[in-house]
């Protein structure tokens, strides 16, 4: 009898844990949506800020975030996919593999602000790219590299070995097999990693703080070497700079809503794709 009661209490506790967790999620979503929605309008999405950040839209920040994402994927995808291909296809048990795996694991744990420092010292200063989309994209791409690698690796290992055998038995070379059979088959899985990477790159602030972002530019970025506004940084700047905190807070809510919708959509798609991809290879 006593056991029964303990069990009841225990299970109630577990239920409370998940309920509280979901409650937090719901609260965040509720506040961001309910206060962000009034800020949203066509003008908000398509126009530049006016009247020292108290009116107008956030279009330059949206565009900036978009450029940063594109740049980041442009660098991270080839590198990440190539690393995964090396690990899965060329050298599954080579000498270097443990060193590379160790590097990837530890790179994944580096704090985002440290990436920012690295980007500042190397891309902004040493390479002379300045505070720019290029510097920011490079910095962000190192940040999401481990994620792209591990998603690609998962996708490549899910490709049945029998397909590689079939291709090789037809007289295809190793590279032909990788290019024409393995990569296309693994593609949806790689895509999942890319999409998750997009979500990450869109939301990160610390790495672009000193490498790409600026609070305000009237002009849209004209080249990879221009600095840019970005949604996450814009929220931060609105909350910590400027002289009209109340009006700025409304705009910040709007930005947070856009960012959250973007990130949720992206992770939703990625989770869905991953599920489909996993099902495709479990007979």
């Amino acid at each position: 009898m006593k056991n029964k009661i303990i069990e009841k209490i225990g299970f109630l506790f577990l239920f409370l844990c998940i309920a509280i967790t979901l409650f937090f999620l719901a609260t965040i979503v509720y506040f961001v949506v309910s206060r962000g929605l009034p800020a949203l309008s066509w003008e908000f999405l398509t126009e530049a800020p006016r009247k020292s950040m108290t009116a107008g839209g956030v279009a330059p920040a949206i565009i900036g975030t978009f450029y940063l994402i594109v740049g980041t994927i442009l660098f991270a995808l080839p590198l990440g996919l190539a690393t995964a291909i090396y690990l899965c296809e060329y050298s599954p048990r080579g000498y270097f593999v443990s060193i590379i795996r160790m590097s990837i694991n530890n790179l994944a744990g580096v704090p985002s602000v440290v990436f920012g420092l690295f980007g500042l010292a190397v891309f902004v200063k040493y390479c002379g790219f300045g505070v720019s989309i290029l510097s920011g994209s490079l910095t962000l791409s190192i940040l999401i590299l481990p994620g792209i690698i591990s998603a690609s690796q998962e996708a490549l290992t899910a490709v049945p070995f029998s397909l590689r055998e079939a291709s090789l038995a037809l007289g295809a070379t190793h590279w032909q097999t990788i290019k024409r059979v393995v990569i296309p088959t693994a593609f949806p899985g790689v895509l999942t990693g890319v999409i998750l990477g997009i979500g990450r790159a869109a939301g990160e602030t610390a790495p672009i703080l000193f490498t790409a972002a600026t609070f305000f530019t009237r002009d849209y970025p004209s080249s990879p070497l221009s600095e840019c506004m970005a949604l996450p940084y814009h929220i931060f700047a609105l909350m910590t700079e400027g002289s009209h905190p109340d009006q700025q807070a409304v705009i910040a809510y709007g930005c947070a809503l856009i960012l959250m919708v973007l990130v949720f959509m992206v992770s939703g798609i990625a989770i869905y794709l991953r599920k489909r991809f996993r099902q495709a290879f479990t007979h």
């Binding site: 239920f15 844990c17 967790t21 690393t83 590097s103 580096v110 010292a121 000193f210």
Partner: protein, 294 residues
């Protein structure tokens, strides 16, 4: 010709695969190179143990002890929030939720982990901080306590989802053996399943801790920013990450202040590296213990 092409591709991939190592080494080199001047000027021990952080005063003082204390106190506070909730949620998902509910809740928890840290920071600043200020009658809601709560919420998904994975690896036979001896579900869960997944769970906790120590934007917005050793959990603090983020903009390139911020980055890097290595070693042993080879 074909052989040459094949060899060429192998080389290209080998070289590209080494970029991760290259970046990791690059980070270490950059942090050391840029951080060295301040360590030479102040001395590494005084840098770490100094209690005064006045980088812009004349003469400037560079002691990061208060920043380390701030980082640790916020991290520990966050773990107090995140560990029970994260592990509890994982246990619920693993044991109590039916297939259908699990298929809804697990993605929901994963999505919580996708919320950008800036949104958490913003939420903390706008909603949690005023709330804390009112409830506890403190001068400011932006303090260590608020930071710990918000960061704790942030860390729940990481801990919950890694813990859930670890619970999933526990062989069914353990559970069945326990039931066969007449143990209840709760007893089996707490006395058999959770300990069997123990190292997996501790890996999850350490990784969560590492995330929190390295988290920047949230603490920057909600921790209050005072670079002094806190006397109460309701005092404003300035963790290492937010110091770097807040001050890099005004630090002159090449100055001691600039160098000091990189040196903080180095300390931060070493702390998270240590945590990651510990968790990796635990998880390696754990895999061997349960016979999950990799």
């Amino acid at each position: 010709m074909i052989r040459f092409k094949e060899a060429l591709y192998r080389w290209i991939f080998t070289v590209m695969a080494f970029t991760s190592l290259f970046f990791l080494l690059g980070i270490i080199i950059v942090l050391l190179r840029e951080g060295l001047p301040i360590l030479m000027a102040v001395g590494p021990f005084k840098f770490l143990s100094g209690v005064h952080w006045y980088p812009t005063y004349d003469p400037a003082e560079f002691g990061i002890f208060p920043l380390i204390i701030a980082s640790l106190s916020v991290a520990i506070g966050a773990m107090v929030v995140a560990v029970p909730l994260g592990v509890g949620s994982a246990l619920y998902l693993h044991e109590l939720a039916g297939e259908r509910i699990r298929h809804i809740l697990k993605p929901a928890v994963e999505i919580l982990s996708a919320v950008p840290s800036i949104v958490f920071g913003f939420f903390g600043m706008m909603i949690v901080a005023p709330f804390v200020q009112k409830i506890f009658h403190v001068p400011t809601g932006l303090n260590a306590f608020t930071a710990a709560v918000v960061m704790g919420i942030m860390a729940i998904p990481t801990i919950a989802s890694l813990t859930e994975d670890a619970l999933g690896f526990v062989p069914r036979s353990f559970k069945e053996a326990s039931y066969a001896l007449g143990a209840s579900r709760w007893q089996t869960l707490i006395k058999i399943v959770l300990p069997a997944a123990g190292s997996g769970v501790s890996t999850a906790i350490i990784l969560g801790m590492s995330r929190i120590v390295g988290e920047t934007m949230t603490v920057l917005m909600v921790s209050g920013g005072a670079a002094v050793i806190p006397h109460s959990i309701f005092d404003p603090v300035r963790p290492m990450t937010s110091t770097i983020a807040a001050e890099m903009g005004e630090a002159v390139t090449g100055s001691l202040h600039y160098s000091a911020l990189f040196a903080i980055g180095l300390v931060l890097f070493l702390m998270t590296l240590t945590l990651n290595i510990i968790s990796e070693n635990i998880s390696k042993k754990y895999r061997i213990k349960l016979g999950l080879d990799r």
